[in-house]
């Protein structure tokens, strides 16, 4: 079975996030004072062939640890879409 998996990568909490700060300032300039705590990261979507959703998640976690995220500077979240994609 194939699973659609989404990885969200954000700068590690507490680390300087100049992109997030710049976007926050821009939002303030556009009069969105309600926006705060803005962070900019990246999203990666991929199909994963695996027997179960849990297995797909486990494999993607390994991919994150080895390549997709930098363990020094980034945190990640993994979401497997419910129901096999194919």
């Amino acid at each position: 079975m194939t699973w659609r998996v989404h990885v969200r990568i954000l700068p590690r909490k507490g680390l300087l996030d100049p992109q997030g700060q710049a976007v926050e300032h821009a939002l303030a300039a556009l009069r969105f004072p309600e926006a705060s705590n803005v962070h900019v990261g990246k999203a990666i979507a991929l199909d994963v062939a695996a027997g179960t959703a849990a297995e797909a998640e486990s494999r993607v976690r390994t991919m994150c640890d080895q390549l997709l995220a930098n363990p020094v500077t980034e945190d990640y979240e993994i979401e497997v879409e419910s129901g096999a994609a194919a």
Binding site: P11, L16, P18, Q19, L67, L68, N70, V72, T73
Partner: protein
């Protein structure tokens, strides 16, 4: 004569400058392709600057998996000198040969300009021709040059004296000394043995007087002297 391999990745830059700087210092330089699996008997390795693999995902993240990296890891483990310049520094961090990481400059802008750096450590293969505390002005050219590491790692780097270069204020510069927000003004670090060095500035870009200064020449002279010292 010391033989120095300069690694070429897709998107490397300044590798001819690195070769020329090695040769002007009295060494022999040759290119090694990123798919090569050996260093052809090189005594030292330079990972040049640039944008390997387009900086896709993160700077240096893909280059780290190039076949040549296994040979470089073995060379480093055997005590062989390795210098990573700019993108080369980023690759060494991604590969785990140096701790920490280089993230987007605090000011977000790509910076191409001279910086002043203080030589903090002079017993490495790449800084022994300088005096401790000497400040030199050499160029930077990077968007991801902000060095970060976990607190415990930083404390260890400082305790072990592994900060090789630090951005330093010098008169005549109207810009802040630290160009990119690096913690503790770190511009270069080394491995515990001192033989693997990563630096953000580009010494090879300013290594002969016809360019107005040869402040970076000492990095390559150091490498030649390191070898002589070893032979003796």
């Amino acid at each position: 004569m010391m033989r120095v391999a300069v690694v070429r990745f897709p998107g490397s830059n300044c590798e001819p400058e690195a070769c020329r700087a090695v040769e002007r210092a009295g060494g022999q330089a040759f290119y090694v392709w990123h798919r090569d699996t050996t260093l052809s008997g090189a005594d030292a390795v330079i990972l040049p600057g640039g944008f390997s693999y387009g900086d896709y995902l993160r700077s240096g993240a893909i280059a780290r998996f190039s076949p040549v990296m296994e040979a470089i890891k073995a060379h480093a483990a055997a005590g062989g000198p390795v210098l990573g310049i700019c993108n080369g520094f980023q690759i060494l961090c991604e590969a785990g040969l140096l701790p920490g990481a280089l993230v987007r400059n605090a000011g977000l802008k790509y910076l191409s300009r001279p910086v002043d750096v203080r030589i903090e450590r002079v017993d490495t293969p790449f800084t022994n021709a300088y005096r401790a505390g000497e400040v030199i002005r050499i160029p930077i050219g990077h968007g991801d040059g902000c060095y970060v590491a976990p607190e415990s790692q930083l404390a260890l780097l400082e305790a072990e004296g592994r900060v090789v270069l630090r951005y330093a204020p010098l008169s005549g510069m109207d810009t802040p000394a630290n160009p990119n927000g690096s913690v503790q003004d770190i511009a270069a670090i080394c491995s515990p043995s001192g033989t693997v060095v990563g630096m953000m500035p580009h010494p090879e870009r300013l290594a002969e007087r016809v360019l107005g200064s040869d402040a970076g020449h000492g990095v390559f002279v150091s490498l030649m002297q390191f070898r002589s010292a070893e032979v003796v």
